[in-house]
C-alpha cells in the first residue's frame, strides 16, 4: 500500500525544460504545485564546475549525466516480424535524468519550425497532390499554427537570451539571417555568437555557391543577458565542452540558469528529487486523473493526489507512463486503430568530414560552443520544389562543429589504417585541419504506419512492468532525402577547400547503437481528431481532461530542426490555455 501525501493543485511529472516552464506558469496563477524528478538535484557550482567538467571520458563516453539503463530502458527492432531486444547500453539517443532534464547537457541549438511544418499534410497535398506521398506515410497537421505559436516562441527565446540574427522581422526579410524562417515579432534578444575559422569558411563557400548562410540560433550566449525573470547569464567562453556537459559558466540556457532560482523562492512550489513516478492514477470513470504514484530512492511507494496532472517526463517516458497507466487506447498498426504509440519518429542525420591541407589551414577546432555554426536552410521543409526529386521533407545543413574533444575527434582521412604508425602520423597531421560537423545534415523524419511504440511481451523493468518496445526503420523517402542533402552539403565542404572528404549517408536499417540525436518525437501526438491523436491542440488529453502532456511526444512527425524551442513554445501555449481557459471551466477545451 502506498502512503498518501497531502493533496496539491498540480502535480508535475519530470522536471526538465517543460516541467520547469509549467511550474513557473502555474505557480504564477497561485496554484500549489509539486514536481517529481526521478534523478538527482543538479546545479552548476557543484555538479559542473570548470575544473573537472572538461572530462570527455566521464561525460561523453561513460554518460555520467544520463539515465542508467538498469533503471529503465526500451527494446528495439526494425520490423514487426522481428524479435525486439533490450537496449542494454545507450546508443542512438541518450535519455536525460535529473533536475533540468536534457536542458542541462543539450547544445542549445534553438530553432523555430517553418510555418508549413505545422500544416504539413495539408500543405504537401495542396502543392503536390495526395498521390505524391508514400502510401504508408501517416503525417498530419498539428492542430496549432505557426502564427498561434509565435508569441510563445518569442517568450522562450527571451527567457533563454537566444543569440542569433533575425531573418524575417514581421514579414521583412533581413540580411544575414535565415530568409526562410517564419515572421518573428522582434529580433533575437542577443546578437549571434562569434564564429571560429572553419565556420566562417563554410559561410563564405555557401555564399559563393549562391546560398544564404546564417549563424545558427544559439542558447550559448554571445554576451551577458538578464532575462525577464531577472536571471543573469554570462557570455559563453567557447570552451567546447557543451553538448553532453553542463555549463560551468552560467552561459548556456537551461532550467538552472533561466528559471529555477526564481521559481524555487515561491512558497507555493516544491520539488522532490530522486522520486520516480510509476503511474498516473485515474478514478473509476477513467476520465479523471486523481494524481500519481511514485517510488522514492529507498523503494518506498507514495501517492500524491492532485487536481491537475502535467506529464513532462520526455517523449519516451510520457508515452510509457500513458501505456502503463492505461490512459488512451494503445495503437495497433495492424488494424490501424488506437493512438498511444502512434507516429513515433526520430531524425535523419548524416555528416561529411573534410580533411584540409595542414600547411594552409589551422582551425583550432577545440574552440566552439554547443550550438555554434553557420547553416543554410535552402533544403529544409518545403523550401524547395520536391517535385523532381521524389521525396518529401528536408533539413538544414551546416558547419556545426561543437568542439573537437580528442577521443571522438581525432579523425584520419579515408584509406588510413585504423591503428599503427601510419594511423598515429595521420592523427597528428590532421587534428587541427579537419572539419568534423557533428550533425552536418540535420533532416526530418516523417511518420509511418509501422513505426510505433508499444509494450514489449518479454522484457521487464526493475518494477516488473513491461519495457516499452520501439519498432523503427528508415524508409525510402528518408533515405532519398538524406542522400540529396548530404550531397549538397558535401559540395559546400568541398568548396571550402577540403582535399579529401569522408561522406557518411544515413542508410537502412535504422541502427540503435550509433548516436544520432536525442530528438525523439511522437507517440502521444496532438491533433484535431481523437481517432488519430492523443492530445488536442492545447496538449490536453482527449480522454482525461485534467491531464496535459508536454514535450516532443506531441509532434505528429518530425521537422528538419532540433525540437526544444518548439517544445518550450508549446509548453507556454498550453500553460496559457490552462491559465486563461481551463481554470475558469475545468473540462475539455476542444469538443471532439
Amino acid at each position: 500500500m502506498s502512503r498518501r501525501l497531502p493533496r496539491k493543485d498540480v502535480v508535475i511529472v519530470g522536471f526538465g525544460w517543460t516541467g520547469a516552464i509549467m511550474a513557473n506558469e502555474l505557480t504564477d496563477e497561485g496554484l500549489e504545485v509539486i514536481a517529481f524528478e526521478r534523478g538527482p538535484w543538479r546545479d552548476a557550482p557543484t555538479d559542473f564546475p570548470p575544473g573537472y567538467m572538461q572530462d570527455e571520458l566521464r561525460y561523453r563516453i561513460r554518460h555520467e549525466l544520463f539515465l542508467r539503463p538498469d533503471q529503465l530502458t526500451f527494446t528495439f527492432r526494425n520490423k514487426m516480424d522481428q524479435t525486439a531486444l533490450p537496449i542494454r547500453s545507450w546508443g542512438a539517443f541518450m535519455p536525460p535524468n535529473g533536475v533540468g532534464g536534457g536542458g542541462v547537457h543539450w547544445n542549445a541549438e534553438m530553432w523555430r519550425f517553418l510555418p508549413s511544418d505545422f500544416v504539413l499534410k495539408t500543405h504537401l497535398t495542396e502543392r503536390y497532390g495526395a498521390a505524391f506521398l508514400p502510401l504508408d506515410m501517416t503525417i498530419q497537421d498539428w492542430g496549432v499554427t505557426y502564427d498561434e505559436l509565435e508569441p510563445h516562441y518569442d517568450r522562450f527565446e527571451y527567457l533563454c537570451g537566444t543569440s542569433g540574427t533575425a531573418g524575417n522581422l514581421s514579414g521583412k526579410i533581413m540580411d544575414g539571417g535565415n530568409p526562410f524562417e517564419g515572421p518573428r515579432s522582434r529580433p533575437y534578444p542577443t546578437p549571434a555568437q562569434a564564429q571560429p575559422f572553419s565556420h566562417t569558411l563554410f559561410g563564405k563557400a555557401a555564399r559563393e555557391l549562391g546560398y544564404k548562410p546564417f549563424p545558427q540560433p544559439s542558447g550559448n550566449l554571445s554576451q551577458a543577458y538578464t532575462n525577464p525573470l531577472g536571471m543573469r547569464l554570462g557570455p559563453c567562453t567557447y570552451c567546447g565542452f557543451c553538448e553532453w556537459f553542463g555549463c560551468g559558466n552560467y552561459s548556456k540556457a537551461s532550467p538552472q540558469t533561466t528559471i529555477l532560482p526564481h521559481l524555487i523562492r515561491k512558497s507555493n512550489f516544491s520539488l522532490r528529487d530522486n522520486s520516480e513516478v510509476v503511474r498516473i492514477n485515474v478514478d473509476r470513470s477513467g476520465k479523471r486523473a486523481t494524481g500519481v504514484t511514485f517510488v522514492d530512492s529507498s523503494g518506498e511507494e507514495w501517492e500524491q493526489q492532485a487536481d491537475l496532472v502535467i506529464l513532462s517526463a520526455y517523449t519516451m517516458f510520457n508515452v510509457q507512463l500513458l501505456l502503463h497507466s492505461q490512459i488512451g487506447q494503445p495503437y495497433d498498426p495492424v488494424t490501424n486503430t488506437g493512438v498511444v504509440g502512434r507516429n513515433y519518429t526520430h531524425q535523419t542525420i548524416s555528416s561529411v568530414n573534410g580533411f584540409f591541407d595542414n600547411k594552409k589551414f589551422n582551425f583550432n577546432p577545440f574552440i566552439a560552443s554547443g550550438s555554434i555554426g553557420m547553416c543554410v536552410d535552402e533544403f529544409n521543409g518545403d523550401n524547395f520544389d520536391h517535385g523532381p526529386h521524389g521525396f518529401v521533407g528536408g533539413g538544414y545543413v551546416g558547419q556545426v562543429q561543437t568542439g573537437a574533444r580528442p577521443i571522438e575527434s581525432t579523425l584520419v582521412p579515408p584509406g588510413t589504417p585504423a591503428w599503427g604508425a601510419d594511423w598515429k602520423k595521420a592523427v597528428k597531421d590532421n587534428y587541427l585541419s579537419t572539419v568534423k560537423p557533428g550533425t552536418g545534415v540535420h533532416g526530418s523524419f516523417y511518420a509511418y504506419r509501422d513505426i510505433y511504440l508499444d509494450l514489449d511481451p518479454a522484457y521487464k523493468d526493475r518494477f516488473g512492468r513491461p519495457l516499452m518496445r520501439i519498432t523503427m526503420d528508415l524508409k525510402e523517402n528518408e533515405i532519398k532525402q538524406n542522400k540529396f542533402l548530404t550531397d549538397k552539403f558535401a559540395e559546400i565542404i568541398k568548396a571550402m577547400g577540403a582535399e579529401k572528404l569522408a561522406v557518411q549517408y544515413r542508410t537502412a536499417p535504422y541502427d540503435i547503437t550509433t548516436y544520432q540525436t536525442t530528438h525523439l518525437n511522437g507517440g502521444a501526438i496532438m491533433g484535431a481528431d481523437p481517432k488519430t491523436s492523443v492530445l488536442n491542440k492545447y496538449l490536453q488529453s482527449w480522454d482525461v481532461p485534467n491531464l496535459f502532456v508536454m514535450g516532443a511526444s506531441a509532434f505528429p512527425q518530425n521537422a528538419g530542426y532540433n525540437p526544444t524551442l518548439t517544445v518550450g513554445a508549446l509548453a507556454y501555449w498550453s500553460a496559457a490555455a490552462i491559465r486563461n481557459q481551463y481554470l475558469k471551466n475545468p473540462g475539455r477545451l476542444v469538443d471532439a
Binding site: 496563477e29 573537472y52 561513460r62 542508467r68 542494454r88 524555487i264 523562492r265 487536481d307
Partner: protein, 249 residues
C-alpha cells in the same frame, strides 16, 4: 501569488511551509528530498573524479599485462617525438577501466533473457567488458603460441607482432571461442581512448597525446582567441589536475 483568490480547480488547504528557507528530508527516505524555498546547497558537494592509483595491475594478471603492453605499443607505436601506447599508459588505462564500473557493466540493463540479435540491436550478452577481455586475451594467447612456436605475444619482434595482429584484424586468424576481429577492434578503441583521455585516468601520461596533436586540454576560455582565425593557439595543454610543470617543480 494571488492571495485570497480561491483556487480555480477546487479549493484545497494550502500548506504553507514555515518560513521560506526549508530543506525537508522525509523521515523514511534516505536520498529523496523535498526541495522548497531555496536552492539546496551542501558544502563540498562536488564530485571530482578520483585519480587512478599508480602501482600493480588491478585487473590483468602478469601475463595479460605483458601482452597488453605489447599490444597497445603496436596499436600506438612509439616514434622519436611521442611515446607509444605502453609508455603513454594505455594498458594502465584499460586495466583501471576494466577493474571499475565500466568493466562490471554497472548501470547497464543486464536482465535475461539473453538472445543473439542483429548487429544494429547492440551488445546482447551477459558478459561485460571485463569478461570479454579475460576470454579474448586467453584465446589470443593460445592462438599466438600456436603460430609462433610457443612464444607469447610479448616475446615476438616487431614485424611478427604486426603480421599477427593484421591477421586477427582481417579475421584471417581465428581465435577459438571468441570473435577475434571484434575483440581486436575493441582493443584498438580502448587503447586510443586511453591515449586521448585526461591523464587522471592513467593514459596520456604527461599529456603526450594532446601535445602531439596540438590540443590544449581542459582550458575553459577562448574568448580572446575565437576571432583569431588560422593562427595556431599558442598555449600548452593542461589537464584536470593542472600542468605537469606546475605540480612537479
Amino acid at each position: 501569488m494571488k492571495q485570497g483568490t480561491p483556487t480555480m480547480i477546487g479549493l484545497r488547504r494550502r500548506e504553507f511551509l514555515a518560513g521560506t528557507a526549508l530543506l525537508l528530508f522525509s523521515a523514511t527516505t534516505v536520498k529523496a528530498a523535498t526541495i522548497a524555498g531555496r536552492l539546496p546547497w551542501a558544502p563540498n558537494a562536488g564530485n571530482p573524479p578520483p585519480p587512478i592509483k599508480l602501482g600493480p595491475w588491478e585487473f590483468f594478471n602478469g601475463e595479460e599485462g605483458r601482452a597488453m603492453e605489447a599490444l597497445v605499443d603496436c596499436i600506438i607505436p612509439p616514434d622519436p617525438e611521442t611515446p607509444g601506447g605502453k609508455d603513454a599508459g594505455c594498458a594502465v588505462f584499460i586495466d583501471r577501466q576494466l577493474a571499475g564500473p565500466y568493466g562490471r557493466q554497472e548501470g547497464l540493463y543486464v536482465r535475461p533473457p539473453f538472445q543473439a540479435g542483429l548487429k544494429n540491436q547492440g551488445h546482447q550478452s551477459a558478459n561485460g567488458p571485463a569478461q570479454d577481455y579475460r576470454d579474448g586475451l586467453a584465446a589470443f594467447d593460445r592462438a599466438c603460441k600456436q603460430h609462433s612456436g610457443g612464444k607469447p605475444f610479448a616475446e615476438l619482434f616487431g614485424d611478427d607482432r604486426i603480421a599477427l595482429l593484421k591477421a586477427v584484424d582481417k579475421g584471417e586468424l581465428k581465435l577459438d571461442g571468441v570473435d577475434g576481429k571484434a575483440f581486436f577492434t575493441q582493443l584498438v578503441k580502448d587503447a586510443q581512448m586511453g591515449f586521448f583521455a585526461d591523464p587522471i585516468y592513467g593514459g596520456n601520461r604527461d599529456m603526450v597525446a594532446w601535445k602531439m596533436i596540438g590540443y590544449p586540454g581542459a582550458r575553459y576560455n577562448y574568448l580572446d582567441w575565437v576571432n583569431r582565425h588560422n593562427e595556431r593557439f599558442p598555449l600548452p595543454p593542461v589537464g584536470m589536475t593542472g600542468n605537469a610543470q606546475w605540480t612537479r617543480s
